[in-house]
Point group: C2
Chain length 178, copies 2
DNA sequence: ACCTGAACACCGTTCAAGT
DNA sequence: ACCTGAACACCGTTCAAGT
């Protein structure tokens, strides 16, 4: 089958997008790839490490994102939100890998906007924590309360949901230069 | 054995405190209580519902917390942080139950400090998301990077950890009246 | 009413053995 | 080098049957 880390990661990602995190098991993955479950462990150290790899792939578009810090974080939400239950995954992934995007880019952008280095770094940590909590909350609520309430946005219908409002307000306040 | 929701919840909580979330399984719980695994389901609808109940018990002290909004949220962190991996649990619990403490108390405190109702509610949602993301991040990092780095605080040694600094700064910014 | 016991349909991970 | 197959030690949940 020509197994590889790349193929495994890509398959895990498509399982995540199609069925959600609870369906991304090593055994399900192995079945999808037509190998025994043990075969995966030749290419990947653990499930945790695999999920970190998936998270990195998902977030890599942020590396080439133009715009200021606010736009970067809005793009972060847009990228993560459609993946239904990836919020919990990201919390873990950021703990495993502090350099997961946009963790490096965010302080750079702030410094480009004139923030001094030390407060740019502190603010980045604050903003990342807020963003992770906000998207995880938003996703969990969508999953548990109203799977029907997930707003099917006509991409032009520019009335923000309540959750989007809360996200923007938080960023606005946190990104005020002290 | 005189099983009950209260006994099951209390036992689950002590398992959580002693061994961490990954050791809180329905089967382990049943063994601890000397019953078959199925017996639990006579008293509790699902594991998710049980965890919500545990979360509620853990956070109930916040209901009798004096002090302003900032102090309330600092107490929240202190309450949750020692429970090692409860951050992920809380994210889920808040999605299942929007009234979990301090979700009701927080807007009340803000209004007592002179905030108008609508912005008190919005700010509460923002602050809760930040707090959840922050404690989950802090806990995950403590678990994965340095189980040794968990600062054993002499309760008087008043030098804040980096994580505590970040938490305070976030709250400060979010609690500025617009 | 409350619980047992067994079953169903799964997990992550390891590791000898094969090719 | 890469993978199989089987095993180990688990999961959450259901449900007939017992008391």
């Amino acid at each position: 089958m020509a197994l590889s880390l790349e193929l495994i990661t890509a398959t895990a990602r498509s399982l995540l997008v199609q069925y959600g995190l609870q369906d991304v098991s090593m055994r399900r993955l192995a079945k999808e790839l037509d190998v025994g479950p043990g075969a995966l462990y030749y290419h990947v150290a653990s499930k945790q490490e695999l999920l970190r790899s998936v998270a990195h792939e998902i977030l890599s578009p942020l590396q080439h994102e133009p715009g200021d810090a606010l736009e970067l974080m809005l793009r972060f939400r847009e990228l993560v939100l459609p993946l239904r239950d990836v919020g919990d995954l990201l919390l873990l992934a950021y703990a495993l890998d502090e350099n997961l995007p946009p963790a490096r880019l965010l302080p750079e952008r702030l410094m480009a906007e004139g923030w001094p280095q030390s407060s740019a770094e502190e603010t980045s940590a604050v903003v990342m924590r807020f963003a992770l909590g906000a998207v995880a909350t938003e996703q969990n609520q969508a999953l548990l309360q109203g799977p029907a309430a997930m707003p099917t946005q006509a991409p032009d219908a520019r009335q923000a949901t309540a959750a989007e409002q809360i996200y923007r307000r938080g960023l606005q306040k946190l990104l005020i230069r002290a």
